[in-house]
Amino acid sequence: MPDVDRTLLRENLKLTFEQRARKHLRVLQMVEELRRAGKKLRQKSDGR
């Protein structure tokens, strides 16, 4: 059985449904920003 971080789940269970969804949206926005930064970095190192 893979390890599951219960502390993260317990934190989420304190939130309303909408709060959980909004928190996830913020994570997705951060992921998108990191992807853009990574792409920019790769383009820079390729000399583009």
Binding site: D5, L9, R10, R20, A21
Partner: protein
């Protein structure tokens, strides 16, 4: 998204929507998504795809890209479950100013297990722990 609403800490990049395959609902679905340029995800380039009621009626499950993001429209999920069979196992959520149905956690686990996909094993483990945590809470 159901997993997120139940408290999952895992990230998901698409939304799965089980839709009722009634004539009226298919028309509503077609109209609602049309402005957001739905197209088949991972389809060969140039493959013709018409977003209309005929396409939805002739198909069942669609993995789509849209201007809103990736959406999986599912007429049927693992175990032969449909909108109608899942309805008694769902509850209403209000978020972002709208109301929608979400399946309950035991049913979500059951569907993922029925799908039998290797990639879901960790997600299922987390959902089982979530269920334990919820059942532990008083009230």
């Amino acid at each position: 998204m159901a997993a997120i609403l139940h408290g999952s800490a895992r990230v998901t990049f698409d939304v799965d929507v089980v839709y009722a395959r009634t004539r009226d609902n298919i028309e509503c679905l077609t109209t609602a998504l049309a402005p957001h340029r739905p197209d088949l995800r991972n389809a060969p380039p140039g493959l013709p795809f018409a977003w209309d009621t005929k396409t939805i009626r002739n198909g069942l499950n669609f993995t789509l890209t849209t201007d809103l993001g990736d959406i999986d429209l599912l007429g049927e999920v693992a175990g032969g479950e449909t909108y109608q069979t899942l309805l008694p196992h769902s509850f209403e959520v209000e978020a972002f100013g709208i109301r929608f149905k979400c399946i309950d956690l035991p049913t979500l686990i059951r569907i993922k297990e029925a799908a039998g996909r290797r990639k879901d094993q960790e997600a299922i483990a987390e959902l089982r722990v979530l269920l334990e945590e919820i059942e532990k809470k008083p009230g």
